[in-house]
């Protein structure tokens, strides 16, 4: 942010997040909710909007919506209905989108985001259910657009924040926090690249101390959290320049261009934002009793913030480690399974999970839960490293082999003869040989040059292909050469 913006203006941001649920079927029909297939191979008369068809609500989609609402501390409305949002666009075969207008599933919630001055509460204005539209591919050459309706009818939840965010960084942190909660709830893939999580931002500036909001711009077309932050930073600058030069900020929709690093006015669709909402006559209303809501509440998992606090106090691990561990619920679950196996200090287990294991997930480009690793197997490996059976370095190689083969640490050590050599007999033989070949170095050591000892230990390691226990080798050499 430029210093002028910082001094004179306050940034006000509200975010709209669209979340695709990963239910088995679409929201109002039995078509598979799986749109990465051949175009128009997952459609039916209902989602194509053919005359005479009737939508029927997917029970699981409603449960997911309640789940998210509860996790975001919302009030769940006991009586909800659907409405028609009318607009004309080829990705919408019916000419209207079934959405929720005045009786959304959830309202008045909040979540906590981390800031430099401690946790900050960000209000959730509302969350409502709706259906996704189809996909358009523009073909400039033939002056036509191609429409694929596979995505039409994918269950969506639109989560609207209050205008409580005060910087692009806060917006970024809000998205990170929200995404993690949604991942824990296991209701969506939350993959922005695939479009299962999308974000539009409303941003305006006002002079510091002013109560009224300024005129906002709605920014769309960001395909990563980083892009959301960049687009908002760009808008801060653009709007502040306009205000400072006496121009008026106009309320409009702007598109973020990733290549140009700028937002552009999207003038074409300005004319008719007249959605003429009215109650959807094809769907009956829905009631949610206290019991219905409690039934869903019971399915809520331990959420990131709760998990953070519990892990930290229960296992006495650092905030830093805990923060990394809770970024993936599978990782946290794995840690706890390892701890249950026992035999190694939790801190050591943490180091292995955050270090070598994370590294393996990254190089293999897989998700953690795709690694086939039994907690017991990792714990045995760590025990062997801690007990000096294998060195730390060899331990990491063994981990790779475990992940490749699914064999146990013990099997791999046996089959490959990887056990560290610590017994005096074997090491003595190697040391004898090396000392007899290194007269000058031996002389230096005898004259008190300690660093020369390291050279000999290195030779021992080389000779044993890294299997010698270096500490033990050093001791033996010193003992041999001491007068």
């Amino acid at each position: 942010m430029s210093t002028t913006v910082e001094k004179q203006f306050e940034t006000v941001i509200g975010l709209e997040v669209h979340l695709q649920f990963h239910t088995k079927t679409k929201i109002f029909c039995g078509c598979a909710n799986d749109f990465g297939r051949d175009p128009n191979s997952h459609t039916c008369p209902v989602c194509l909007g053919l005359p005479g068809t009737l939508p029927v609500l997917n029970k699981v989609a409603l449960q997911y919506a309640v789940k998210v609402g509860l996790a975001l501390n919302c009030k769940i409305n006991p009586y909800i209905k659907f409405d028609r949002k009318n607009y004309y666009y080829p990705d919408l075969p019916k000419g209207y989108q079934i959405s929720q207008y005045d009786l959304p599933i959830a309202q008045h919630g909040f979540l906590m985001i981390p800031t430099e001055s401690g946790p900050k509460k960000i209000g959730i204005f509302r969350a409502h259910m709706e259906e996704d539209a189809g996909k358009l591919i523009h073909d400039g050459q033939t002056q036509s657009s191609l429409v694929d309706y596979n995505r039409t009818g994918t269950p969506l939840l639109e989560i609207v924040s209050d205008p409580d965010l005060r910087s692009p960084q806060e917006a970024y942190d809000y998205l990170q926090t929200l995404k993690l909660i949604l991942q824990y709830l296991d209701v969506s893939d939350c993959d922005m690249e695939k479009g299962s999580l999308r974000c539009d931002a409303n941003v305006s500036l006002r002079r510091c101390g002013e109560k009224e909001f300024g005129t906002k711009a709605e920014v769309k077309n960001m395909n990563s959290f980083r892009a959301v932050k960049a687009a908002l930073e760009y808008e801060e600058l653009r709007q502040s320049k306009m205000i400072l030069s006496g121009e008026r900020v106009v309320q409009e929709t702007r598109l973020w261009s990733e290549e140009k690093g700028m937002t552009f006015s999207m003038r074409s669709k300005e004319e008719a934002h007249d959605y003429r909402y009215f109650p959807e006559p094809d769907l009956v209303p829905f009631t949610l009793t206290e019991k219905n809501i409690d039934d869903v509440r019971r399915t809520l998992p331990e959420l990131p913030q709760e998990k953070f606090q519990r892990l930290q106090s229960q296992y006495e691990i650092s905030a830093y480690d805990t923060q990394i561990i809770i970024q993936d619920p599978a990782l946290a679950a794995f840690l706890e399974e390892c701890v249950a196996v026992g035999g190694v200090a939790v801190k050591k287990v943490c180091n292995w999970i955050i270090g070598p294991l994370q590294q393996e997930t990254n190089t293999r480009k897989v998700k953690f839960d795709q690694l086939k690793l039994a907690p017991k197997n990792l714990m045995d490996l760590i025990s062997k490293v801690e007990g000096g059976v294998v060195s730390n370095l060899v331990g990491k190689d063994i981990l790779k082999m475990i992940l490749d083969s699914g064999k146990t640490a013990e099997q791999i050590i046996q089959e490959n003869g990887l056990a560290q050599v610590s017994d005096d007999g074997t090491l003595d033989k190697v040391i004898d040989e090396i000392i007899s070949q290194s007269d000058s170095v031996v002389q230096q050591i005898k004259e008190g040059k300690e660093s020369a000892l390291g050279f000999l230990v290195g030779q021992v390691m080389k000779k044993t292909q890294g299997k010698a226990n270096p500490k033990k080798a050093g001791e033996l050499i010193r003992r041999r050469l001491s007068p």
């Binding site: 239910t23 997917n58 657009s145 429409v147 074409s268």
Partner: protein, 94 residues
């Protein structure tokens, strides 16, 4: 008062084209309809819950079970234009 401009606006939203004559007639018709429905404004509805649906039924659900979809061929059977398994429409750019 429903003006000709109102009629043109609504016609555009509905993507229908109307002749000058039709616009004038419809403006009059709509005027009458709005006036007729406006009669309801005279009622005191403070104590009445808004009607969200005319049927006294709630909570009609579908289980989350996949049912067969149409084939691509079937889905596109009535398309005026198609290409590469997709519906082909005049170019739209936002």
């Amino acid at each position: 008062m429903i003006s000709k401009k109102d009629v043109q606006y609504i016609a555009h939203l509905a993507r229908i084209s109307l002749s000058e004559n039709e616009q004038e007639t419809l403006a009059k018709d709509l005027e009458g309809i709005v006036k007729y429905v406006g009669k309801l404004q005279e009622l005191d509805t403070k104590a009445v819950e808004p009607t969200t649906h005319v049927l006294p039924i709630n909570n009609v659900f579908r289980e989350d079970v996949v049912r067969p979809s149409l084939t691509q061929e079937e889905a596109l059977a009535n398309a005026p234009a198609k290409e590469a398994g997709s519906f082909k429409v005049p170019q739209v750019i936002e």
